[in-house]
């Protein structure tokens, strides 16, 4: 078969610049052939090489006494949770594939991140996701939303992993370029950590999983380009199809094989499939690798070397086994009726050599391919729009006349409304570990013995007390758009606050940087300042970044997306007694706000970038609320202290919609069963002489609504005082309506009315 | 030869998928739709004596490829 000639057009089509091509020629000492060009193209895409972001990412805190595998070392980071146990977790985007084919794009995003976790030797035990769409008034947006949610549900449910929590925002900037970020977490013992390294010269290299087809050709490179109008049409053929059933079997077989102790290295074939897994395992081990493509199981006839190396067929793994133990692979993969093939061996040459029918078709120094991608320091310039944002004042914004209607409108605003339309499609309970279901500030998961992968002796090791972890994923991208640095700190602070509200101490963070084109200095500014803000936030909460994902070029013909650095944070709860939920529990309990009613030093009183301004005044501007990290840290630690005292019956973080929405949610968000909420009213007074809308709907940070038994009020207030946390007694839980008095006005609404607005808003928008 | 098998829900059985498709078509302006039923189509490439193959496949349809409680099947050998 004749291969295309390497022309400047072909080079450009592969997303490589003339300089990058020259660098490839220097590395090889010759011109690359077509297959090699394809390999460099994917490995040097942003998705695989982080060439635009690596220098920035170095600013992230990545160490703590609990980090066992740090960011960038392997496919996912690993954190110690005590008793010899550890968790592995990571978030990854599948934005562009989901824009092209929402169901399969989202499904394979879930499949990919699950593989990243069991590749580490961990058993995946829960999933989260973070989604962004345009506004639901658009039929096209509804189609994408429906497709993405059912794709996630399909893959996760069938695989048997609970999808525990997530977030969904709707904003015009995501129209045509939805964001689909999928997170997975797994459990393992310290000694079970598997490495993606091709160790041991002469060791055989196995391919396991379904045969290779022409699916998702060059998806990694595809993810690193702007979405154009024709791409949605033209690249439909590039989207992979996921098979969760296959993945479940591959996972069980891989964990079983890892337990035998014969695995020298293992890596999933994700982006850039066979290419990435072979060169990265060799580079990590400092070895070489040689494979023969005729031995690779193939689904389609007459596949070229280029196609086989770049295919992104799903659910495939590369496994390097200690020589002499080949039979173990055969035995286990045959048991699970899975295809497997020995396709090559580890060498000492440092080269990645690919043969097809014996003839060498690729010969590249592995380490240079993985580690010597060009690095770019892009130009950065403050975006012009930020001056207008900073100049915004409340002078032209009339104070609300009808706060009761505003509250209902905010509760029904899709970004605030209950996401039950989404999560009722996810099996969030499988594996018998879900202690706090979707719908509270953070999900809480029990880790029990059966979560641990099997050890060589056939057991899951010494018994341990159940562990409890809390998980959340957060990012108010409007804040980030209006102030990339402060907004990113706010995203981290909100995640940490959500964990605190559930009773947890943060352990670590994984982030998904969803940004637009880095070649545009104004857009690169967003990325740069955002990373700096995230880094500062993670440092403050001692929640180091264990890894994550960068997705650039998120824009559509009408403009870039809002910069969206999604923050997923995991925390641990020492004692199940400390697990706390957001809803009010009992009549007569006292409602207290921890934190200042309004940040008086903020000229916009917390209304900058607020849901209130966006939904009711159609204004997406103003400097977002200020984020003072020491204040947040003090608040979270104080709350955990009160929880440990046994005083806190509910804790709910104030975020979008402010205090009024937070209190309303505490009244209406407990769902006991189908069509059966447990509603409980409250009567509160919000003190302060600021404008009414700021008191009710301002989004000043570092605030948590708690409820306590009347007998614990004095203790709680005294505790807050001594911890330096402002605390205000707002009122009492009880009755069938929520009554709020503020600035001389009273609003009172039946809780069932509020519940209906909040609970059914998205379902109504989807009808 | 090639066996073409169509499996459709029995008329008495609730077919929400068919109903959803019908609603969508009606919303798009298609008129006169009396009913939509969504089923499955299978293609099986098979070798052997025609009568034996037919008998085998009919058995397979009854046992595995369709569920007689809720589905009908139609087999064509080409």
């Amino acid at each position: 078969m004749t291969e295309p000639a390497i022309t400047p057009e072909l080079i450009q089509k592969h997303g490589l610049t003339p300089d990058e091509f020259a660098r490839i020629e220097t590395i090889l000492g010759r011109r690359p052939n077509y297959t090699e060009l394809g390999i460099f193209s994917v490995m040097w895409s942003e998705h695989c090489s982080y060439k635009n972001t690596r220098p920035l990412l170095k600013g992230f805190p990545t160490k703590s006494e609990k980090i066992l595998v740090g960011a960038g070392e392997e496919n996912a980071g690993i954190i110690d949770i005590g008793d010899g146990l550890a968790i592995a977790f990571k978030i990854e985007s599948h934005n562009h594939p989901s824009a092209v084919e929402p169901f399969q794009g989202a499904a394979t995003g879930v499949g990919g991140i699950i593989r990243d976790i069991f590749t580490m030797g961990a058993r995946p035990i829960c999933a989260l996701n973070s989604l962004r769409f345009g506004e639901l008034t658009s039929p096209e947006v509804r189609r994408l939303f429906t497709g993405v949610v059912s794709g996630i549900a399909h893959y996760g449910n069938c695989f048997g992993i609970p999808t525990l929590a997530g977030e969904v925002y709707f904003d015009k900037s995501y129209e045509g370029n939805p964001l689909v970020n999928a997170f997975c977490l797994g459990v393992l013992r310290h000694e079970q950590i598997a490495r993606g390294a091709a160790k041991g010269i002469g060791n055989p290299v196995f391919y396991v999983g379904p045969a290779t087809g022409r699916d998702g050709l060059a998806g990694a490179a595809f993810a690193s380009q702007d979405l154009t109008e024709e791409s949605a049409e033209g690249q439909r053929g590039a989207v992979q199809v996921g098979d969760p059933f296959m993945e479940k079997l591959v996972m069980e077989a891989c964990l079983e094989l890892l337990a035998t102790g014969v695995v020298a290295g293992i890596q999933d074939m994700g982006a850039a499939g066979l290419t990435c897994s072979t060169c990265e395992t060799a580079a990590r081990a400092g070895t070489g690798i040689e494979i023969e493509l005729t031995k690779v199981p193939q689904r389609a006839p007459n596949m070229t070397s280029y196609e086989i190396m770049l295919s992104e067929s799903q659910e495939r793994m590369l496994i390097i086994v200690n020589k002499g133990h080949e039979a173990a692979v055969q035995k286990i993969f045959d048991k699970w009726d899975l295809p497997w093939a020995e396709i090559g061996f580890v060498t000492d040459t440092g080269r990645m050599i690919v043969r097809n029918h014996g003839e060498v078709v690729v010969d590249i120094p592995a380490k240079k391919l993985t580690d010597e991608a060009p690095l770019y320091t892009r130009d950065s310039r403050e975006p012009a729009y930020l001056a207008a944002v900073r100049g915004f004042t409340l002078a032209g914004v009339p104070v609300t006349k009808n706060p009761g209607a505003d509250l209902q409108a905010l509760l029904a605003w899709p970004s605030i409304a209950s996401k039950n339309w989404v999560y009722r499609q996810y099996d969030y309970m499988v594996r018998n570990g879900t202690v706090v279901c979707p719908g509270s500030d953070a999900a809480v998961l029990r880790i029990k013995q059966d979560a641990v992968p099997v050890l060589p002796d056939g057991t899951t090791g010494p018994a341990f007390e159940d562990k409890f972890i809390a998980l959340t994923v957060d990012c108010n991208a409007t804040y980030v758009y209006l102030d990339p640095y402060e907004g990113s700190k706010l995203a981290v602070a909100e995640a940490a606050r959500n964990l605190a509200c559930s009773g947890a101490v943060p352990l670590g963070t994984t982030d998904n940087l969803n940004f637009a084109n880095p070649h545009n200095p104004e857009l690169f500014y967003q990325l740069k300042r955002s990373v700096e803000g995230l880094a500062e936030g993670c440092r403050a909460f001692n929640a180091p970044v264990t890894g994550g994902n960068v997705s650039l070029y998120n824009q559509n013909p009408s403009g870039p997306i809002d910069p969206t650095p999604t923050v997923a944070m995991v925390g641990i709860i020492d004692d199940p007694k400390h697990i706390t939920t957001q809803w009010f529990k009992d009549e007569g309990d006292v409602v207290i706000l921890l934190g200042n009613i309004v940040d008086a030093a903020d000229p916009l009183l917390g209304l900058g970038g607020s849901a209130y301004l966006q939904s009711l005044h159609k204004l997406k501007t103003g400097t977002p609320p200020r984020c003072d990290l020491p204040t947040e840290v003090r608040l979270h630690e104080g709350l955990r202290g009160m929880i440990r005292q046994g005083w806190i019956k509910s804790a709910h973080d104030c975020s979008e919609g402010g205090l009024a929405v937070a209190i309303a949610e505490s009244c209406i968000s407990q769902q006991t069963g189908r069509s059966t909420p447990r509603l409980i009213g409250a009567e509160v007074e919000i003190p302060g002489d600021q404008r009414l809308d700021a008191l009710l709907f301002g989004e000043s940070q570092a605030r948590i609504v708690i409820s306590v038994n009347p007998s614990d009020v004095d203790g709680t207030l005294a505790f807050a005082r001594s911890a330096g946390i402002p605390a205000n007694r707002l009122g009492t839980v009880g009755g069938a309506r929520l009554t709020i008095r503020a600035a001389g006005t009273t609003l009172a609404t039946e809780t069932n009315v509020l519940h209906d607005a909040w609970w059914n808003a998205i379902a109504r928008a989807m009808e | 030869m090639k066996a073409k098998i169509t499996v459709t829900p029995k008329k008495a059985v609730l077919d929400p998928q068919g109903k959803a498709v019908q609603n969508a078509l009606e919303q798009m302006g298609y008129k006169g739709l009396r009913g939509v039923h969504v089923g499955k189509y299978l293609e099986i490439e098979v070798e052997g004596d025609r009568e034996t193959v037919k008998a085998q496949l009919e058995e397979a349809c009854r046992k595995l490829l369709s569920n007689p409680v809720i589905e009908d099947f139609h087999l064509v050998l080409e």
């Binding site: 059912s150 549900a153 449910n157 069938c158 695989f159 048997g160 098979d243 969760p244 059933f245 296959m246 479940k248 079997l249 699970w336 009726d337 999560y423 009722r424 499609q425 996810y426 099996d427 969030y428 309970m429 499988v430 594996r431 018998n432 879900t434 202690v435 279901c437 029990r446 029990k448 059966d450 199940p576 769902q671 006991t672 069963g673 189908r674 069509s675 059966t676 | 829900p9 008495a12 059985v13 609730l14 929400p16 998928q17 959803a20 499955k40 595995l64 490829l65 569920n67 409680v69 809720i70």
Partner: protein
């Protein structure tokens, strides 16, 4: 007691059933691989939930041909207790051990939520220990849980008092609104004529511990255990 929990490729709730039987109720339970020919010496069989064979073709359609299902048929024919949960219910229907079939939810969407169940009969090994008049709160998690059978079959099931559970609202009333999937006559679970094989879409194993917020599912396992204890006693006598 000794329980066998079947494990098909992509059984997802197998460990959950084991966890409840062993760690919560203190009995012995082990996984039995679908390619095995024998159940071993067991007192009861659980066919757990999941997506056996990826739900390809039809839910449960492929799993019923697994070698272990021969042994289950035999075990059931000899009067052994078999409970199918969710995908297990689907498999038992496909295998002909229970009448009817489970089809796509009326909403066309997967549904995961807690539902309220009213026991239909107290005279079954799966419901006998449930207190008189109790409503159970137990989760469902399925995309194809709409129970269907023709009217003659349904009449027979009702005449023979074989409905294990019906979907009801929090007050115990049967209504369209309380029916999460469109099941005929709100049926959530049934047993066979001999009353030793039961199937239900809701997941009692997910509602058997206070830490998970629900413990009503325990009544179903307690019923099975009471039945087995009585059988043991009458055998010994």
């Amino acid at each position: 007691m000794n329980f066998a929990v079947l494990q098909f490729p992509a059984s997802n709730c197998d460990q959950d059933a084991i966890h409840v039987l062993k760690n919560v109720l203190g009995h012995s339970a082990r996984l039995v691989w679908h390619k095995d020919q024998s159940l071993g010496a067991v007192d009861g069989v659980i066919v757990p939930g999941g997506f056996s064979y990826g739900d390809y073709l039809r839910t449960g359609a492929i799993a019923r041909f697994s070698p272990i299902m021969q042994a289950v048929q035999q075990f059931a024919a000899n009067g052994g207790l078999v409970l199918g949960i969710c995908n297990g219910f689907q498999i038992l229907c496909e295998a002909g051990l229970l009448p009817g079939a489970l089809i796509r939810n009326r909403s066309l969407q997967f549904r995961c939520e807690n539902v309220f169940l009213k026991p239909g009969s107290s005279h079954t090994p799966f419901t006998r220990s449930i207190p008189e008049g109790a409503l159970l709160r137990i989760p469902i998690a399925h995309g194809e849980g709409c129970f269907y059978a023709d009217d003659a079959t349904l009449d027979q099931i009702e005449r023979e008092d074989r409905v294990l559970f019906r979907y009801v609202d929090a007050q115990g009333n049967r209504s369209e609104e309380s029916n999460p999937n469109g099941s005929v006559r709100n049926i959530a679970g049934i047993c066979n004529t001999a009353r030793n094989v039961g199937g239900m879409m809701p997941h009692p194993e997910r509602a058997s511990e206070p830490i998970l917020g629900m413990a009503d599912g325990r009544w179903i396992f307690e019923s099975i255990l009471a039945e087995l204890a009585e059988r043991q006693k009458s055998r010994a006598a």
